[in-house]
Amino acid sequence: MPVSTNNNRTEPRNTIFGVGSVVILLLCLLSFPVLSETYVTKETTEESPTRVRDLSYGSVLYEYYQGHAFEALSLINVAKHKGGISGHGDHPALVEGGLMLSYGMAQEAKKRFESVLKDQVSASHKNEAWFYLAKIFYLQQAFQSSIEAIRHVDKALLKQDDVGLYHDLVYMEGEISHRTVSMVDKVDETLQHQITLLDERLLLQSYLRYNQVVMLVDDGNIEQAILSLSKLVSDLVVKIDSWGTDENELTELIALKEQCLLSLGQLYLGQSRAQEAFKVIAAIRKGSVFSDQALFSYSVAAANLGEFGLALSALNQLESRPRFSPWLRQVPYATAYLYENLNEPELALEAYRIASKQYQRYSAELDAESQNLTEEKILVALNIEQTIGTQKIQTNAYGKLNVSPADFGIASLLASETFQHDLSELHELYQLKTSLGRWSNQLDSFDEMMTVRNQLREQKIERSVEKLKAQNADQWVVGQVAISNKIDAALDSEDVLFFMGQEQKDYYQRIRRVHDNLADFPEGDQKQQYLEKISRIDSYFSWWVTDTYGVNRWQAQKQSNALSREIEAFTEHRKKLDRVMSSNERNDALAERITSGRQRLTVLGQDLDISLNESRQRLLEQVRTELGVQAAETRTYLLASREAQARLSDALYRKQLNHTEDEMVGKDEVQNNKEATQ
């Protein structure tokens, strides 16, 4: 954002000390810890958590509190698919909205919060939903809508429920007033109020104080701005000295302190207080993100103090830095200008000559860079070529990337909301691409699983068929039918003998054998006796069989019925088995789901490639525009260096010419005098 795309300018930009732009840069660079405070605060201030009443919701929260938005969103969707989350009212909807916001789905998140507001929910949930809506509007820079949403927030309740969100709200209000109210006094009043609402230990409060200084500068109240900034710097120093273990926030504090020092030094320079400027700028670290600007300011301060050696040394150090930074563009010209002001025209001429050559080279390099610009080069400059699309890059609660550029020059582009947005989008698209690759592998493994399942099924079928064969199942059925028919026939003919029990059958056989033996027996008294005896036995046996006929018949029928049932169950089971063996419904359904997943994956992959290409082009276009602006500036410097070179050469030539003429005149005079004397 601070980098204007106005190409009509003919002068090199005064990119130095753009306080407003740096504020935005800082906010973009340092937004992660600020916005992530929600999580941090929750840890320390929440009451003992209420036990979850739904296991799936517990899993969602586990991912949510680790900042794994995508995983948590997927789990919420799984839970919804399986019947929803029970026992937690509208809280899951709020969590889902927050997750969507974190995953860069602002529009979807907005819908969720709006739907929560339509439902009958607790005052706390409603309050939170209004807060998030305000935040979404704020992020979309729809400030009036954001103000409207903030009006619905019960601040006391929000503070009580979640102090982190409350701090965020106060900061947001300060920011909105800064950007929307045109009357400086009114903004200052609002900002001052917001500052007093925040604990001085909070980083957010320091940001608001810095923004207040920016407003004072805008208003021309430089003395007050210097006082406020000095106080802020000393407060930050105390805060840094007593800071705890949070490395991220400490880095952020140090960066803010150095930004304040730089701004303070620039304000001092503007007030011709070079000594004070020199002192504060010297306190900025060499490795700071602001070191280039600080070094240049240092040289300015040194020059104003008459310390030209130090000034030149600082400029020479800047000369050795990578050229991408727009801050460095003015260095060769400034060096020559410094020599010129030191009344060293020969050195200045040489410096302008060198500057011309450098600008010529820079210009050619910038043109080549613009033509050969690739996405990879941008990612290298941002130091994310290895990490883009991975979870190694941290994002804040609103999806913005936390990037520390390798090339500080690109920091000015990084400060632009548009660039940040496109960069985050590119990162997210790469993440999606990685996910797609992972799912493709997953589907491949599902395919393998299905193959194994089908193979196992075939093997089972083979074994079952063999077992059935071994059982001679068909013969059993035939046998059962035959027995059933015999029983029916015996019943019809009332065949008493057919239903005899085992003991009776044994007796019957023995009686038959006796009759057979007697048939071969010689006639006589003994045979007669035996015949009478067997006759009595026959009579008794007949009576016995007749007597037990009912019981025996019932027993036979009972067994026959039981056998029929068994055979029926067996036949049913076998039919089922045949059906299962002939059809593969379950596996087919699973295979169909795999195929469908693969089709969806293919379509998504195509859509993703299109979006990725568009996002990439937008990013390249922005950097090309920036390079174009830099090239135009470089050409202006080139022209100016050449003009200065020509002017100085001319002046030196004239000086030399005058000197020669003077010498000639002197010589003539001496000659004339000699001649006159002679």
Binding site: Y333, T418, E428, E614
Partner: protein
């Protein structure tokens, strides 16, 4: 030519601190706002808005998640174990080991963010697997640092019956206010 040079010198004078810098001009600010609103416009015609893509991706991930469960862990044999931490003031959780029927099925070393997530009320799905219907035994052992920075080792076991539905168990770690010590128990979910 002289004019251009003069302009440049003016710029340099600015650089040399003779003039105080100003913040973004109103025009630049307006350009910035317009630019951002255009970018954030949901109706902006892109191939497929990133939000829509993300929505599709989440749905696909959901379906694959369910498909994976159906393939690997059918409902009639599915067995899941969760871990929860109630307050956790008396325990800094380090690791956990889960044994089912004398076989170690899961072991986990906790990161700081994971313990924080548990502390805030999240539940970790420690294990998902398959179990046959019938009697089983589960043993859980956890290691951590207790009050006064003493190393702690807690264990609990449970004999349970696996039926034909999904079986879910929860390992509950909580603080005992009676003796200022952490305790562990296993609860069955229906």
């Amino acid at each position: 030519m002289k004019n251009r040079e003069l302009n440049l010198i003016k710029v340099l004078l600015l650089a040399l601190g003779l003039l105080i810098p100003v913040s973004l001009s109103a025009q630049e600010t307006d350009e910035k706002l317009v630019g951002a609103e255009q970018i954030l416009d949901p109706d902006k015609p892109v191939a497929l808005s990133v939000e829509a893509l993300k929505k599709k991706v989440i749905e696909l991930n959901r379906d694959l998640f369910i498909l994976e469960e159906d393939l690997l862990f059918p409902a009639n044999t599915q067995f899941v174990v969760y871990v929860s931490l109630d307050t956790g003031k008396f325990l800094q959780l380090d690791s956990i080991k889960l044994t089912i029927d004398e076989e170690v099925v899961a072991a986990h070393l906790y990161t700081e963010s994971q313990t924080k997530a548990l502390h805030n009320g999240g539940m970790q799905r420690l294990h998902i697997g398959n179990l046959k219907s019938g009697e089983h035994q589960m043993v859980v052992v956890l290691n951590g640092v207790g009050p006064n920075n003493k190393e702690l080792r807690l264990a609990s076991d449970l004999n349970f019956e696996k039926g034909s539905d999904i079986k879910s168990l929860e390992i509950r770690i909580k603080d005992e206010s009676s003796n200022y010590q952490p305790s562990i128990s296993i609860a069955e979910w229906n």
